[in-house]
């Protein structure tokens, strides 16, 4: 049975309560009480005014945090990421299953109209919605063969899978608070299906893998559903008549927001789906925030992975930092990324290159939290222990 903590619990060795200090305990020896008295009475002769002047000068000069504070915040971030990694799989599974159950297409036998090739049935939580044949998008031509473009590296696939997991987590979180309108459901499905498609592309099933593709998918799905721009009204280009087709069509339209198809635009204004999408439009700022958060999250993930594999797979670490620099040039983590890439060069044995690049970098950042470590690595030619 768990012992009851707090005042009043017997102190087993001396029979007094633990909340009675040794100073107040008459059974303590005079020597112990004398030491405690000195410890309570003695005050360090601290010059408060001089210390305060130094403190204010530190604040005004923007003095960096001490290394121990920076290291502990990094460890806490690491714990957060680990916790996220543990929580992600069950949340993703629950989201996918829940979405599938809720959004699956209606049974053909329940449809009041015969299933015609030119009609599409959309399940939006309120029963099937019939689309006139004129508004059903034409089938699109199959994508070019995957062999035309080399498949992505496994490491890049893993990075995209990370982004996929993160986006699904956001979907799961937003689904708890989002409205239950049809357009909202389409937003969610569009986000997931876009990321899935990017991961499939990275795996080689589709060509044209680009850095940050999955994020662009996430970002592009949101404006497709939440804004009433001409691009979002563009006609979908999918042959499937299921909800997923709407999702992918929304994403397709949103992937080229600045290139509305002239022929598609007038048709799209008449389209009920587009109108419903416009009705479910959300304010601009949350969308922007979502995009920037997603970018920041991806950047942090890439940096975290690059740091983690620095000693075990420096080549991958270097590749990730360079890819990150291409995607997020000039971001707040740019310097951090550069020092990781320099450490990766050291670990790869490319010491001359690391020193050549590192010297001006260290001159620019002489007192950053990681400067000492980088300086040591460049001097010794190997990664110092943290």
């Amino acid at each position: 049975m768990r012992k009851q903590p707090g005042p009043g619990r017997d102190y087993p060795l001396r029979g007094v309560t633990e909340d009675v200090s040794m100073w107040d305990d008459p059974q303590e020896s005079a020597g112990v009480r004398q030491l405690l008295r000195v410890g309570r009475v003695d005050q360090v002769d601290y010059d408060v005014d001089a210390g305060l002047a130094r403190h204010l000068a530190n604040l005004q000069s923007g003095a960096p945090l001490p290394a121990w504070a920076v290291a502990q915040s990094t460890v806490q971030k690491g714990w957060s990421l680990s916790l996220l990694a543990w929580l992600l799989p069950p949340m993703i599974s629950a989201t996918i299953v829940g979405s599938w159950i809720y959004l699956r297409p209606a049974e053909p036998s329940l449809s009041p109209l015969p299933a015609a090739p030119a009609a599409a049935v959309l399940s939006h939580g309120q029963g099937p919605l019939q689309l006139p044949a004129a508004h059903v998008p034409a089938p699109i031509a199959p994508q070019p063969a995957a062999a035309a473009v080399p498949a992505a590296e496994p490491a890049v696939v893993r990075e995209l899978e990370l982004a996929q997991d993160a986006s699904k987590l956001r979907v799961a979180q937003s689904s708890r608070t989002a409205r239950h309108g049809a357009s909202t459901h389409r937003v969610r499905v569009a986000s997931v299906s876009n990321v899935d498609r990017d991961v499939e592309r990275a795996r080689g099933s589709e060509p044209a893998l680009e850095s940050g593709g999955s994020l662009r998918g996430i970002a592009s799905a949101a404006p497709a559903a939440s804004s009433a721009t001409p691009a979002s009204h563009a006609a979908p280009a999918s042959s499937s008549a299921t909800v997923n087709s709407v999702a992918s069509a929304s994403a397709s339209a949103a992937e080229s927001p600045s290139e509305p198809t002239p022929t598609a635009k007038p048709q799209a204004h008449k389209e009920p789906v587009a109108e419903r999408r416009a009705e479910g439009a959300e304010p601009q700022s949350p969308r922007d925030n979502g995009i920037s958060e997603a970018r920041l999250e991806r950047e942090m993930q890439m940096l975290a992975v690059a740091q983690r594999v620095l000693s075990t797979d420096p080549e991958r670490s270097l590749r990730l930092t360079r890819q990150g620099e291409q995607e997020f040039r000039g971001s707040m983590f740019s310097a951090e990324r550069t020092q990781v890439s320099l450490l990766a060069l050291v670990q790869l044995g490319r010491l001359d290159e690391a020193r050549r690049l590192g010297a001006p970098f260290l001159r620019a950042y002489p007192n950053a939290p990681w400067s000492a470590r980088l300086r040591e690595a460049l001097a010794t030619g190997r990664l110092p222990r943290r």
Binding site: G6, G39, Y46, G51, L59
Partner: protein, 188 residues
């Protein structure tokens, strides 16, 4: 940007810098390093948003930061506990009735106190210092350190036992023979 302005930071510093300095000294930080660590503690407090009124007192909040600073500092200078010189112990400002004999006795007592505290590891030492010398409750200490209350009580109990033994040994034995024994205890 912190919601605490420089004035707020200044006020926090003015009121509690002596407390932090004392706490750091009790945690085994050399007096010559105390000011540097005081600066770091208040810098971290400022960047973290400063002290917000709540269940924790400002002293408890600052002590939690100072504990981290002292732990890191001590790790850097692990051997200093047993090579510290007597002249590192500064004179007391608490007793206004100065006399050479009193000052000498005060210095000697402070040296003994520091050596007795050196017998504790950092986890026990912070609990002991906050409970016995700063007068904090064990529940508050547990909250600030992020440990269960039972653990805090357990550490306090062990710290009291070790401190008592060390203090009694210090009073009995000569100061020159003590470090080896304490070192054996810490090593064990």
């Amino acid at each position: 940007m912190s919601e605490w302005s420089h004035l707020d930071s200044a006020e926090l510093f003015r009121r509690y810098a002596p407390f932090v300095a004392n706490f750091l000294a009790r945690m085994g930080v050399a007096r010559s390093d105390v000011d540097d660590l005081v600066q770091e503690v208040f810098l971290v407090a400022h960047r973290g948003g400063g002290y917000a009124p709540g269940p924790a007192k400002p002293t408890t909040y600052l002590a939690s930061i100072a504990f981290r600073a002292a732990t890191t500092h001590r790790r850097k200078r692990q051997t200093r506990s047993f090579v510290r010189l007597a002249d590192e112990v500064v004179s007391s400002a608490g007793d206004e009735r100065h006399s050479p004999e009193r000052d000498a006795d005060q210095k000697r007592q402070l040296a003994l106190l520091d050596r007795a505290l050196d017998a504790l590891d950092q986890d026990k030492r912070v609990v002991f210092v906050m409970a016995e010398l700063q007068g904090e409750s064990v529940v508050a200490i547990a909250q600030v350190l992020g440990i269960p209350v039972d653990t805090a009580y357990s550490r306090l109990r062990a710290a009291r036992r070790i401190f008592r033994e060390a203090a009694e040994a210090l009073h009995i034995e000569s100061a020159s023979a003590l470090p080896e024994r304490l070192q054996q205890r810490v090593g064990a």
